[in-house]
Amino acid sequence: MDLDKINVILATDCGSTTTKAILIEKVDGQFRQTYRGEAPTTVEEPFADVTIGVVNAVTEIGELAGRRLVDEQGRIIRPASDGEGCDIYISTSSAGGGLQMMVAGVIKQMTAESAKRAALGAGAIVMDVIAANDPRKPHQQIQRIRELRPDMILVSGGVDGGTTTHVVQIAELIAPAKPRPRFGNEYKMPVIYAGNRDARPLIEKTFDESVDLKIVDNLRPVLEQENLGPARDMIHDVFLEHVMAHAPGYDKLITWTDAPIMPTPGAVGNILQAIADRDGINAVGVDIGGATTDVFSVFNGTFNRTVSANLGMSYSISNVCAEATMERVLKWVHLPMEDRELRNRVKNKMIRPTTIPQSLEALVFEQAVAREALRLAYKQHKEFATTLKGVQQQRTVGDTFSQRMSGLTIVDNMAMDLLVASGGVLSHAPRMAQTVAMLMDAFEPEGVTYLAKDSIFMMPHLGVLAQVHPDAAMEVFERDCLIYLGTCVAAKGVSKPGKPCFKYRLHGSGLDEAGEIRFGELKLIPFGPGQEAELELEPARGFDLGAGSGKRVQSKARGGTVGIVLDGRGRPLVLPEDPAQCRTLMGDWVKVLGLYADSDQ
């Protein structure tokens, strides 16, 4: 396909409740996202054909754009001609709960974790991890495999030339369990084997005809190295071949698209990775939903994704409160609230997930819960995104008293350059400053970090597009997808309130400001979107802004809908124990950032 000739791109994302379509057109030589449409997803009865929803959404765009995209037979018109059709049509899918997988490996923290990484990276939800060092007894594991109905199973284990016994043992757990796939009683469970090369013939022998076995390269050829690519690609292939083919209407949809349909989270990861690669930055993305929260990160080129299955803002809101404790949630609230009443409200939100906060109080509380949900999800992400475990260390005498372990997190808030937010509570917050505050409180970015949000959640579409037309995807991502909220400048370190934290100087784009931030202080400097200013920072002793304790930093601040936030509250961010004191403090911060109507003068 000649990329130069592509002018009109249509993309859809078939979610579990709605199908979203966007139209990307070349305007003045640049790709822009122009129109969007939405329609209920039609996977379930009575329609049971996903394409109906797709056509509805596309028709809506067509009407808005004044462009006929669907022909009489209900098919998408291609290629584009004047005022009609599109050049490329692509789609992602998370309908029916997305791609659900079970993974297995020998050691939970090693090959099983690599397998989990591969599955998550491919956009799957990992239902369970089976490992040889599982505390569950073998028959319990077998029981579990029988209860689960995953879309596919990824089996790994052993380095090349390593253990065969354990790998076969895992296979011997899975084979007699006779796992049944989620869709279609008649088709065979796809099992991808990405483990020890030497065990392949044995694996083939252990799994009989009842499963559809695919063999790819070992995802951990040696313990020191991960090779997730082949396994990830195979997951995508199997997703298309098996899972999609068995979901209603997908067989049709597959023939429509110009690029393989991807699981939605996989596509989001794709675009984030592409952008991080292109700009050489470290980026973190988060998508907080009703039931789950996805965190994506790219640090030094390594991509990681986690799904926190029970951290969300509606279905799982009660779980967030249970995990974080109500006490912790209420620390983020500047209004007095009653505990018992709140607990019931939380449960009511859980059983009636579609309601929206009407009063200010309800909004404040919901955003407090969001902070905790994000914080916990990020914590899980940090624990998962680690260096490889099981690697031999080379020590020198200098390490006697500082024996660092392997398997430490690679997530480094100081190195994070870009933090992208998406998901209802973040993108639809009534004020942008609220989004900024939630991100800052939950993620605690350090140093200089750009904050942005995904305007209409088009990252999935762009993720697939990046596979076909990377330039177009990047352009749209920069221009239309991301809404820059501003820049967060935060110093790492803790001191006493009122002590100096850092000095700053900002100049450029009509801004020339200098001053000092004291510990505990928060300052907002409005600075519009598209603007950039030189930023000079001089942290006090004991504070770090990226160059080390007390060392000067030169950087760039980016404007946004909120502006530049100078954060002297310290990292880690410690909230007072006393609830009353905490509430006053929150009140101050709310005022500085102008978060809620009650603080407006």
């Binding site: 009660s318 018992r340 009511n348 059983i351 309800a362």
Partner: protein, 375 residues
């Protein structure tokens, strides 16, 4: 965007209910189309392959796995009783001889020469599906199950705990807003489906469990009471598999909230009648709500014909209930339906509805925060 509000829960006196009762895996359907079944009749049955117990003979005999098959005294397919000798090493001039016995009974399914494991599969486990509601089998799905149909009084709850339960309806409260206290639970309620009024207290739940009440239905429950009963804080509203010995159904929500008058009256009307109750709730895609079904006896009575009103239409004068604070649980009538989105107190913009409350006060609430109820 016509459905931008929550459709109400069903509370109806005369519904034709159809329930698919299917096995989780293929099996045998025990009823024929047209048959009449009782609520507790088994309609389909199957046997899950038995539990598999791996036995690591290589470890037990301290042998390399490859030598295991040669030492087997039992062959694949043989039935092994617990305590029987599975395998024996040859030893060395009569020394170092050892043997391994089976810890559980089962059929020897496989012997692996790689791991040295053998698999013993126990007896198949029966899986049975009950009819749940008494009625007629209108369709048999071969190998899977059947569809039962009945005319019934049907009440959907908002949230429940516990699985399927049966028993006669027994009213414990005299008004829909009366709190269900422990005193209201009497020993005669053993095996009954007990209907309370407003909130159910933890003491009442405990008393009910003590007495052996089959199911407890009420308007609301306090979160802390639920936590006290379950022993943990419920994180996600996916329930039904708890084994608490008691099924709980709340019809309205959490907190001090009265049962809808209509629901209370309806249940009261059928006091003493057999009811089928399930607490299984799943608030996710493919929503499941708890149900209370009181089937009609087709030979004796006709159900009250369902009102012809089409559900799901939000019109002026429709009775609605607020399902979100600050007016949570209050009932009113739609007064106006402004077309343009309005800015709420929280600062966000949403489409709203104006409602006249029972107190006469007119309030504006987002459309997402009301549900239709049938009066």
């Amino acid at each position: 965007m016509a459905h931008a509000y929550t459709p109400g829960l069903k509370v109806t006196e005369g519904a034709i209910l159809r329930r698919r009762r299917v096995l989780p895996i293929a099996g045998e359907v025990l009823v024929e189309a047209g048959a009449r079944v009782g609520a507790r009749d088994v309609v389909a049955e199957t046997f899950m392959p038995g539990d598999v117990t791996p036995v690591n003979l290589a470890n037990l005999l301290a042998l390399p796995p490859a030598d295991v098959p040669a030492c087997m005294l039992k062959q694949e397919g043989d039935w092994v009783e617990a305590g029987e000798i599975l395998a024996q090493t040859k030893g060395f001039w009569g020394f170092f001889k050892s043997e391994a016995t089976a810890k559980v009974s089962g059929r020897l399914e496989a012997v692996s020469s790689v791991t040295g494991q053998v698999m013993l599969r126990g007896n198949p486990l029966p899986v049975r599906v009950l009819a749940f509601i008494p009625g007629n089998i209108i369709e048999v799905i071969p190998g899977e199950g059947c569809v039962v149909e009945t005319e019934a009084v049907f009440v959907q709850g908002i949230f429940g705990i516990g699985g399927e339960a049966f028993g006669p309806i027994c009213m414990a409260c005299s008004s829909p807003d009366q709190t269900l206290e422990a005193e209201a639970i009497t020993p005669e309620m053993r095996g009954a489906v007990v209907v309370g009024g407003g909130r159910m207290t933890l003491a009442a739940i405990r008393a009910a469990k003590e007495v052996g009440v089959s199911a407890l239905i009420s308007g609301g429950i306090d979160d802390l009471d639920l936590q006290g009963f379950l022993g943990y804080d419920l994180g996600v509203a996916i329930t039904g598999s708890e084994r608490m010995g008691l099924t709980l159904v709340i019809t309205e929500g959490f907190g001090d909230i009265a049962m809808a008058k209509r629901t209370f009256a309806l249940l009261g009307k059928y006091a003493g009648r057999e009811a089928s109750v399930t607490g299984a709730t799943q608030i996710r895609a493919g929503v499941m709500r708890p149900e209370i079904v009181i089937a009609m006896d087709p030979d004796v009575e006709r159900s009250v014909p369902e009102t012809a009103r089409q559900d799901g239409l939000l019109e002026i004068d429709t009775t609605v209930r607020m399902i979100r604070d600050p007016y949570f649980g209050q009932i009113g009538k739609v007064h106006a339906l402004p077309a343009e989105p309005t800015v709420l107190a929280s600062g966000s913009k949403a489409r709203v509805v104006e409602v006249v409350l029972e107190t006469g006060e007119t309030v504006t609430v987002p459309r997402a925060n009301i549900e239709l109820i049938e009066e």
